[in-house]
């Protein structure tokens, strides 16, 4: 057993005792009822289970939850798909996903949303040239699988958010 205390979507959880072999995915879904984080392949190959980790240095990254122990998140701050909207106001990226009808079944959407959000935050810190934007988006979303083949729409949605605020994301 390991003691787990972390911050999820700005709210403190724990400390609580968890089994060492408990995955973060099970902790979120079964213990906390945060079912927006999906369980897909169970092998970190589809990344539908990805969440955002807010690092102490101000950067953010995604992490799969299906293959990572919940205990590994002790002391960390994370965001899940439930943490994007502010009240009833969806984030810019969520709106873009809807406008582009980027998802069909929606199973991969939380992972794409978190990855896209991390990309936006990275570009806000380190903008890229317009000529490199398509590659940057493609590389960022590369590990995520969508069985409804929404890749182009997801890509276009992320691109639209970036191009809507070029001073922030582009050099």
């Amino acid at each position: 057993m390991t003691t787990l205390a972390l911050t999820i979507n700005g709210r403190a959880y724990g400390p609580t005792e968890v089994r060492d072999e408990l995955s973060m995915n099970d902790f979120l879904r079964e213990y906390l009822g945060l079912t927006g984080t999906k369980f897909g392949c169970g092998a970190a190959q589809c990344l539908s289970c990805a969440i955002i980790v807010d690092n102490p240095d101000g950067t953010s990254t995604t992490s799969p939850t299906c293959v990572v122990a919940a205990a590994n998140f002790n002391g960390k701050a994370i965001r899940t798909v439930e943490g994007h909207a502010r009240g009833n106001e969806l984030s810019a990226l969520q709106k873009a996903f809807i406008e582009h009808f980027a998802f069909q079944c929606g199973y991969c959407t939380a992972g794409f949303l978190n990855e896209g959000q991390v990309l936006l935050e990275r570009l806000a810190r380190k903008p890229v040239a317009r000529v490199d934007l398509e590659t940057t988006i493609a590389e960022a979303l590369d590990g995520h699988l969508c069985r409804c083949t929404g890749y182009v729409k997801y890509h276009e949605a992320v691109r639209d958010v970036i191009l809507a605020d070029p001073k922030r994301y582009l050099v």
Partner: protein, 200 residues
């Protein structure tokens, strides 16, 4: 008389096959002392390296010493999924770092291998698709072995924790042959006998 002859031939054939099977057991490593019967030092050194080659050419090692920028995985050496890439420092691209999934240790419920130093060997250390002789010459070349003297390879192969993962790879992965200590002993014996390479 004829029956006795056939029994003798069968017994002889069985013993030869058993001996052959013993020499090609890919799960074990023969200790350095086993090569003392080879009088020629260079031939003995090359033979020791050939034994070590069971480790160096094993999927646990080659998968992260790939010829390209994408690691391989599994005992079959299939291309890594998800489609990760080497990145500028061998630890993955910024959007998908190795450590994102491969954490401090294996996580068996998720079948995920892990080590705190998980990363790809540099391009110049690629072993995939090379013969043992080519790997040997490469591993001796400071320009292609991370600037190491051959003596430093004893520590690298014999005690490095990331290398050591190859013998404790977790569920569904065949461990590298022998033990890490045995592999280290072979490297040491190889170095002490002149670090000769197999011709091919």
């Amino acid at each position: 008389m004829r029956v006795k002859f056939f029994v003798l031939v069968a017994a002889l054939a069985a013993s030869v096959l058993a001996a052959y099977a013993g020499t090609v057991d890919q799960t074990k490593l023969v200790p350095p002392e086993s090569f003392e019967g080879i009088a020629d030092a260079e031939a003995r050194s090359a033979a020791i390296f050939t034994e070590l080659g069971k480790v160096l050419t094993h999927p646990r090692c080659v998968n992260c010493h790939p010829a390209g920028d994408r690691p391989r995985q599994g005992d079959e050496g299939r291309l890594h999924q998800p489609p990760v890439a080497r990145g500028p420092d061998g630890h993955g691209r910024e959007a998908l770092r190795c450590q994102t999934c491969h954490q401090q240790a294996n996580f068996e419920p998720g079948r995920m291998p892990g080590n705190s130093e998980w990363h790809l060997a540099p391009r110049e250390m690629a072993w995939e698709g090379k013969t043992l002789g080519e790997i040997c010459r490469q591993i001796k070349d400071p320009a292609r072995n991370g600037g190491r003297k051959v003596e430093e390879l004893i520590h690298h192969i014999g005690t490095d924790t990331l290398v050591g993962w190859a013998w404790k790879p977790g569920f569904g992965r065949t461990p590298a042959p022998g033990t890490q200590a045995e592999a280290g002993a072979l490297v040491e014996a190889w170095v002490k006998t002149g670090a000769a390479c197999p011709s091919k």
